[in-house]
Amino acid sequence: MSARAAITVRGLRVETTAGDGVVEGVDLEVAPGSILGLVGESGSGKSTVALALLGYCQPGLRIAAGVVEVGGEDLLALPERAARSYRGRVVSYVPQDPQTALSPSQRIGDQVRRVLRRHAPERDAPETVATIFGRVGLPADAAFARRFPHQLSGGQQQRVAIAIAIACEPSVIVLDEPTTGLDVITQARILEEVRRLGRETGAAMIYVSHDLAVVAESADRIAVMYAGRFLEHGSTPTILRQPRHPYTAGLIGAIPDHRRFTRPSGMPGVAVGVGEWPAGCVFEPRCEQRVPACAVQEPPLEAVSGDHVVRCLEWRRTPAFTRLERLDEQVERHAAPLLAVDGLVAEYGAGGARRGVLHGVSLTVDAGHSVALVGESGSGKTTLARCIIGLHAPSAGTIELEGEGLAPRARARGAEARRRIQMVFQNPYDSLNPRQPIERQIAWPARRLRGMSAAQAGEEVGRLLETLRLPDRSRSRYPHELSGGERQRVAIARALAAGPDVLVCDEITSALDVSVQAAVLDLLGELRADLGLSLLFITHDLGVVSAIADQVLVLDRGRICETGAVRAVLGAPQADYTRTLVDAAPTLQDASAGGGS
């Protein structure tokens, strides 16, 4: 195989300039035309490996050891000038965010031609650009090539980035989270495109992502990264069906799947960061099957069978992978809903620039129920949430809480109404005040909306921290001292401090790693049962819906196109749009059955 490999990496080590390891002992080979999926949670070093494949690393890091061989040449041994002539021509890169990767002031056709001019001047012509655009599914006409990036949709921008990457027909293409931030339907199309290009061009591809389900849909082989290392590496069906590393098994178990209605389970502990690597196995502190030897000795990559390797001393003990069925749905509807939205119309802008976002949306949330609102970006789902908590005044329609109408603006509502509906925001990095200790932020809603004294609120903070499984010492911490999952739990605690009846959750897990997401979903399920809380769960992720919702509403461009019980909607969607959504959403099911790729 090594004779045919398009790219071979051996013993790659990347460290910070201070000498802390970021990537350690990475070996990989990718054959022409095949796709290697590189999966890991944030901080696992996957993007650093991706860049190292181009002989590059971010400022503050350096490639300390290793060989990156492409076409018989070691990229790491080349001087920077020579390495540059390889990038884009022999090894190319598709970045995560095309919005920042494309130059906003240059026409997209020129951006493709810039690469051609540098590496293949003989092909530098408008016709070449048209051909390349055609191959990535973009319009091949000259007028399109004259557009600027801001005139394209997110999906089109990513196709342009891919067009730039394939322009010089490289033998290796590195894709770093190319579909993160895109809608599921667009994502499914781009994935399809990537697979097709792999087949057609014969380029070896390395597909980096945090999302195992996405990788599973395109990759032939998967490498699972954690703390800068490969923990497990094998063919896609093997990894998904017979994971031998407890981390891989945990990762798969944490992914909610809309085809199966499983209960995702979180992993205990927090991922180790750079500079915190333990002496033995990097996963040992979080591992449930550790033995004393794990803390002492870093396990080698051991062959399980054929080309399936795992870095675990105790891999033989890793239990056969099972999934937990979800059984906690509420199906009976109550006669009187707790929250009722009727005929809601909302717009942004004023005068001639007015743009409608919601066109008569009605929904109800029953007491103790969990209602998921599903939609892609631009469907108006966040606007709906903002109307409900009184941050955006609707132009028509009513919002009622137990039959009582609510004023459009939060300020105009009574304190009781503001207390009973609370919202948890999408991004925990943005929803907590960076300059205030956690305790004050959780205590304030209790004081303001429940009239608690400072002492009472202090006790309440203690109870909430315990409920959300945050250590009591987090009280005096500031948000930046906490991990993303901890921050989102603080944000939930702050919402719960008001003692709400309805919790509006706007994409609250989309900024979190899957294992953390599973823990947060688990916790919300418990809170529902214990506090009798009703949830309005806004998300684009059907997996999350299947894990938490009782009822589903599908929002398409400001209108509800389908509603019903979660199993009915996801199992047998009626509306065309819902069907497209369900088909496009990534799932582990096909790939693990061996039907993928």
Partner: protein, 282 residues
Amino acid sequence: MTRAAASWRRLPRPGRAGLVVVLLILAIAVAGPWFAPYPPDASIGPPFAPASAEYPLGTDGIGQDVLSRVLSGGRSVLLLAGLATLLAYAVGVPLGLLAGYSRGVAGAIIMRGVDVLLAVPALLLLLVLATGAGAGAVVLVIGIAIVHVPQITRIVRAATLQTTGRAFIEAAEARGDSTARILGVEVLPNISGALLADVGVRFTGSVLLVAALNFLGLGLQPPASDWALMISENRSGISIQPWAVVAPAALLAALAVSVNLFADGIAQVYARASARRVEASA
């Protein structure tokens, strides 16, 4: 004390130097009068006497001891500049917060007022004010504050605008928190970095304006000992007795430079800290 030590270690080297010089000049200004060998406003020798053992920095045009006047002349500059800067922030920060936060009429009115003030040259404004209301310390402080307010308002407004869209502000709005609490507790602490970076420039500006007005005779009046006034009084004798001009001028220049070095240092420490916060959230 350990906190102070930790802050010192984080301060970049030019910032440390700045701090040392600022403290030194502050010490001269505050404690100087007690160490003055002669009363600062008494003629004790011949005019423009050169530096000697008796008069270490010589005497000025009316025979007053330059060293004694230098030691006594810092208080007024620092005090007036400090008060003016403080007053400017006391007015400019709330205006900027309000203008940045309220997207309605209030913000528009504040910003148009700011535009008008910005269009008037600073020195002209002060000259008109001094001629109209008479020369004196109070007019000086208020006048300099008026010069700074529009710029402070603009900076605070820009920083506030960036903060108001953030989710923790929206969370406070959904709770129904008062505007005063949102601005004071949620917004202000998050824009303090932008403010800190600017304080040094404003204070130096105040010092220079105080000096300029005193020099022009529109601020403090002659018997008072004041660095800027000294420069103005003694510039005719600069060729005979340079110390009477050079000593106060050097102190003013050193003050301006060191305050800026120190403020830049603080701003850098702050930027690094918030970069860490951003990194932690990436």
